[in-house]
Structures are given as structure tokens and as C-alpha cells.
Symmetry: C2
Subunit: 111 residues, 2 copies
């Protein structure tokens, strides 16, 4: 069983942004909490949240809300283990199971 088309698409979408590549690289050293990471990659927290959400939705990182020793809430993000082999073959295979969300003009008229 290979990866689902929509999942693979989500992975590509998640990685198709320089900030998010940097976030992945930054998390490689060790897990980090959001504010800490924001300082490191020099990004506002709200924006970082957005990027983290995309990475998490794609399954590339996971977030965990924890309490520090002093009792303060900290949200830690860490990398997930992921490994994709990308060739025209694996892309074509995954694409078989690719489906657009059932919106738009799916089956209005054929010719």
C-alpha cells in the first residue's frame, strides 16, 4: 500500500514554502515550543501558527501542550518521522486515489 493521493498532495503543499522548510530544519535539532521557535525563525507567532498548522495537517510535525515546571503552558512541536520516495511512478500511483473536494463543478456537463 502506497500513500494516498490527497495525503501526498498535502505533504507537497506543506513543503512548498521556504518558511516551512526552515521550520522543519529548526525542529530537527530538538523539539521547541512555539514562542521559542518564533524567535528562532524570526516570525510572528500568529504567522508561525499558520505554518505549523499546515505542517501538522500534513503529518510532518506534531504539537503537544504541556505545563512547564513553573506551571506555565508551553506548546511543544516536534518532527514526525517521515520518508517519501518521489518519482514519476510514485506520483502517478498516488494520483490514482486523488480526488478533488466534492465542491465546484464536478459533474455539471460532459461532452
Amino acid at each position: 500500500m502506497s500513500i494516498n493521493g490527497n495525503e501526498l498532495l498535502q505533504v507537497f503543499e506543506a513543503l512548498a514554502n521556504p518558511h516551512r522548510l526552515r521550520i522543519v530544519a529548526a525542529l530537527r535539532e530538538q523539539r521547541k515550543y512555539v514562542s521559542e521557535l518564533a524567535r528562532e525563525v524570526r516570525m510572528s507567532r500568529p504567522l508561525l501558527y499558520l505554518h505549523l498548522q499546515r505542517l501538522e495537517a500534513a503529518g510532518l510535525v506534531t504539537g503537544n501542550l504541556e505545563l512547564s515546571d513553573s506551571g506555565k503552558a508551553m506548546k511543544f512541536y516536534e518532527l514526525a518521522d517521515f520518508e517519501f520516495h518521489v518519482t514519476s511512478e510514485t506520483v502517478a500511483e498516488a494520483t490514482k486515489t486523488l480526488q478533488e473536494p466534492p465542491s465546484s463543478k464536478t459533474n455539471e456537463e460532459e461532452e
Copy 2:
């Protein structure tokens, strides 16, 4: 030597779209000319051109203008050979050589 950060980003950007995944899959069987491919993936030619350009810019496909037997111009696109191993390690490695275009507020003020 591994892949350059900006090149890898361009690959992800190219693959981060359902139409383009389908185009890759369609070209897997054999090379096709633009109008032919447009019919197959049910897309207007101008739009297909845009997507093909992105794929070509990323090095995933190549285009060739040829003359058919009858003398009509035909632009054939075919898949390039590509293979990427995507893990947090390869992403982090490539990210080292990632650079934003020298615009925006690169070095306005540090703190």
C-alpha cells in the same frame, strides 16, 4: 552533493497542485502534445501552459516543439527522470542552501 534548497522548493511547489500531479501521471504513459494533453486532463490550453511551465521550471518535464509529418507545429512534453528522497534530514540539508530572493526586508534591523 545533494539538491539545492531553492531547487527542492521549486519541486515541491510544482507538485503542490492536483492538476499538476495529474499531468505528471498522464505523461507517464508517453509524451504528448499540448492540445492532446489538454483534452485528456480536461483543461483549457492557456491554463495547461501555466502548469506545464511550472513543472518545466522545476525540471520535472521538458517541452519540445516539433513539426508533424504534415508540417504542423506540435509541442511535445515528456517527463524528466526525477527521484527525490524526502525526509526531515534531506529537507534540513537542502534548507541550508535556501535563500529568499534578494528583495523584501532582508537586513533592516536586528535586535
